[in-house]
């Protein structure tokens, strides 16, 4: 049963991911990415990581909606009605993508996973959330706080880059 759901949602995620680059409508592209990520959230749920799955589903909805508005803003042809081609070096990219898949799959297939496993039974969902909280505010607190600082830095950096620079000498003319 679990195998079926993992396969199903995994397949859905990959199909939507391919859809991202197969349409020329920006809105469809962003929504395909959103549903690919949502399928991943469902995949996490199927792997009994309930908190992570719900978090993924929640975060991506907002994130990809923001992505959609930026894409529509910055594109010359957001509706994709003009049939513009927005790609280059297709052959190389396709080869690199396929090569990546083959390489990673090969590594996954040839690794001896049996000896690496230390526990294969997941705890109940509410116990997981409690333990994750203890991990975040205990042993991994420094990492967690570093992530917080990084977010702050990125926010400041992003604002600094994106704000409009006042024109030089603009005040003299007025």
């Amino acid at each position: 049963m679990q195998t079926f759901f993992i396969g199903f949602f995994g397949l859905a995620a990959v199909v939507f991911a391919v859809g991202v680059f197969r349409t020329s409508s920006m809105m469809r592209s962003a929504l395909a990415l959103l549903f690919s990520q949502t399928a991943l959230g469902a995949l996490f749920l199927a792997m009994q990581a309930e908190f992570l799955g719900v978090l993924q589903i929640m975060m991506m909805a907002t994130e990809m909606s923001i992505m959609a508005i930026f894409m529509v803003m910055f594109m010359m042809d957001p509706g994709g009605l003009g049939g513009m081609d927005m790609s280059h070096q297709k052959r190389l990219s396709l080869l690199a993508g396929l090569g990546g898949v083959v390489l990673v799959t090969g590594i996954a297939a040839y690794t001896q996973w049996e000896g690496l496993a230390s526990a294969t039974e997941a705890a109940a969902a509410d116990e997981q959330i409690r333990q994750l909280g203890r991990e975040l505010l205990g042993r991994s607190m420094l990492v967690f706080e570093t992530a917080g600082i990084t977010i702050l830095t990125a926010m400041i950096a992003a604002t600094a880059v994106a704000v409009k620079v006042p024109e030089q000498g603009g005040s003299h003319e007025s």
């Binding site: 993992i6 397949l11 995620a13 990959v14 991911a17 391919v18 680059f21 592209s29 962003a30 990415l33 990520q37 991943l40 995949l43 996490f44 792997m47 009994q48 990581a49 908190f51 992570l52 978090l55 923001i66 910055f74 010359m76 790609s87 280059h88 070096q89 297709k90 990219s93 690199a96 993508g97 990546g100 898949v101 990673v104 799959t105 996954a108 297939a109 996973w113 049996e114 690496l116 496993a117 230390s118 526990a119 294969t120 705890a123 997981q128 994750l132 203890r134 991990e135 975040l136 042993r139 990492v143 967690f144 977010i151 990125a154 926010m155 950096a157 992003a158 600094a160 880059v161 994106a162």
Partner: protein, 103 residues
């Protein structure tokens, strides 16, 4: 061999491949960022799969997933900031027009 683990890793590999294709083939900065999101999504799948099927007792694995999700959000924030700045000064976010970045 654990078939569920292999299936999840296969999904991760496929997402990585699609993302890599997107990053290399798209000419637009925003589309390129979608490719990066997909590559990171592939990493997410692998991390959750490793936590669930190999080390279900260690919650550091779940925390790693949270950190990667943070990275995804940050990549978007900074990427859009750069895109906005470029659009203001150059009027487009096409990567082929950004030749001056090449040393």
């Amino acid at each position: 061999m654990n078939p569920e683990l292999l299936l999840a890793l296969l999904t991760g590999a496929a997402l990585f491949g699609v993302g890599l294709y997107g990053v290399l083939s798209q000419t637009n900065l925003v589309m390129l960022m979608m490719g990066i999101e997909l590559i990171l999504a592939g990493a997410l799948v692998n991390l959750v799969a490793f936590w669930r099927f190999l080390h279900a007792e260690s919650y550091a694995g779940q925390m790693f997933v949270l950190i990667v999700m943070t990275v995804m959000a940050l990549e978007m924030a900074v990427g859009f900031a750069v895109a906005t700045a470029r659009f203001r000064t150059r009027g487009s976010v096409e990567m082929e027009e950004a030749r001056e970045l090449k040393g």
